[in-house]
Symmetry: C2
Subunit: 337 residues, 2 copies
């Protein structure tokens, strides 16, 4: 394993996910994750460029920034890359008129978009708006189109609120894809276009940037595919009981925030607690061979090698650290930048 200093060499820009990294949403707007306000402040005082890269699609950027500022974060609207404005740009460029299945909180972002006589559907994290009636309406609009076009603002499976895990837009995107026999266009992480625009707005090249997030698919996998480095926090929806393997992640380049409470030396070998990471092959004798076989069948050959590597990697992790450590570890990494 490479040392931290090596892993972080040449980083000029930091992309921060918001939900699950800076705060957990919930009653009364949610709560900042312990230490994250100070970490952001410290990042912004450093030589690094900082940008907030979110798939938040329940709130407009104005409302999101308002909430974050109330929680104590130093953030402005211009520093946030969010999927709704990106979707509006695409709709205008392609002359599309959407039927919107979105949360009322984000509807204002589409004020300048013609929604008459729709020729596409846009879905976002609509929360309670994902009623049967609304889903059926979106389905019917799609089925009436000669070439159904569906945009999904992100494709997250779920996110964490203070009250527990909540379904995100991804499952509803899958529902409409299956119902109509189509493939949605994702606007947001992990789409390469989305990372591209965030990096352009920050003026940083992909190889000079690191993405910090809690989603192994949207944040880590997406960033890596676009040539960035990535760091998965153990806050938000992070779980050791991963059911959602994602084999687009390159484990050789996956960096997990270390769980040790020690912050000095801040740059050290990537490790869990006091144990260095096991190099593979580790013993997977007792592990879920049937799952592996099933997955093997389902995936194309191209991904097999990556998949096995990811499996070994996560197995080692799970064995050494069965319980999820407390929140806030990524700050140690930030402090070492």
């Amino acid at each position: 394993m490479a040392a931290w200093s090596e892993r972080l060499a040449g980083v000029r820009g930091v992309l921060l996910d918001i939900s699950g990294v800076l705060y957990d949403g919930g009653e009364g707007g949610g709560a900042a994750i312990a230490g994250s306000v100070e970490a952001v402040a410290r990042l912004k005082r450093s030589r690094l460029k900082v940008r907030f890269c979110t798939n938040e699609s329940q709130k407009s950027r104005v409302d999101l920034v308002g909430l974050l500022r109330r929680l104590g974060f130093d953030v402005s609207e211009g520093e946030v890359t969010a999927p709704a404005p990106a979707a509006c740009l695409i709709l205008k460029q392609r002359g599309l008129r959407p039927h919107l299945l979105v949360h009322d909180g984000v509807r204002s972002e589409f004020d300048q978009i013609d929604t008459s006589n729709p020729n596409c559907v846009v879905i976002a994290d609509a929360g309670e708006g994902f009623s049967y009636r609304n889903m059926n309406k979106a389905f019917q609009v799609l089925m009436e189109l000669e070439k159904p076009v569906l945009f999904s603002l992100g494709k997250g499976r779920y996110y964490k609120e203070t009250s527990g895990l909540m379904l995100d837009v991804g499952p509803y995107m899958k529902a409409l894809e299956y119902a109509c026999g189509i493939k949605a266009e994702v606007v947001g992480k992990p789409s390469p276009e989305f990372f591209k625009s965030a990096l352009q707005e920050m003026g940083v090249e992909a190889h000079e940037a690191i993405m910090i997030g809690d989603d192994i698919v949207g944040d880590v996998g997406g960033a890596q595919r676009y040539g960035m480095r990535a760091l998965q926090v153990r806050t938000g929806k992070f779980s050791y009981r991963r059911k959602n393997w994602d084999f687009t992640v390159d484990p050789g380049r996956l960096t997990l925030a270390k769980s040790s409470g020690r912050s000095s030396p801040a740059v050290r070998h990537l490790r869990m607690g006091s144990q260095p990471w096991a190099p593979f092959p580790v013993n997977v004798g007792k592990l879920r061979r049937t799952t592996v076989k099933r997955e093997l069948k389902a995936k194309t050959n191209r991904l097999h090698a990556q998949m096995f590597t990811a499996l070994f990697f996560t197995v080692a992790e799970r064995r050494k650290q069965p319980r999820c450590p407390p929140a806030g570890e990524w700050r140690h990494v930030v402090f070492s930048l």
Copy 2:
């Protein structure tokens, strides 16, 4: 192409789908499809055994049979194979206690099932019950289980009511599968166990039975995989603008109800209007090559041959008969049995 007489040789039992074949649901319970009441009566007067094989999961069998009888059908509860009773059997056999996400109309079928401290989830066509809150609850129950088990009563994409197309349980099954990273167990068509129990109740072997339905996947594909013959009606959700290709269907054995109004001779070569079916290869030069390529990539090699065959087959059909013919054609076939 084989003649009708050849295709139907040795048939001793007929399995009839209900929704979209006998009636279209909707306001006030729905309406019988023209001629279907007489066709069922005629079938039951014949030497053939008849069974109703449905994925209906909004209504209990009692309510479904009550509705069909009000519409004029000669049907009794004991003649219906439906997924809810089949699911109850599985739950009991495996000692599972379900969290139910089902329509109130079918809840009574689960009266004898222990639903305390759930260790699995059962979803059915819940209609308006597919609220965000209910879906999230089912999701949370699954995520809390060490080994999440999800049963889906059928996996239909949509069905047709008199007011239009309606989302079925399948899209919601896909949503939960994606959210939790799991694979649901389908109880109902096209599951082999389901056809097996229907045939056992009828006392007929698979090779002696024909399934009549409007769903190319659940009815036709499922029946063929189980060694039965199948006939797709052009009523219900049948559409020439198929977006949902299913390549588990064996087109060599796919029988479409003929659209000709002529009922004599009832047994003839399978054809559309007055044109005999084109043998393949037909010219697909102008056809959706990109779609084919995309599908090719997505499927495993094992299915490629079938897929191409299905494509050629349906292309021929579409060219010769661009508009959907009126309802009720399958009766001609019934009359020829």
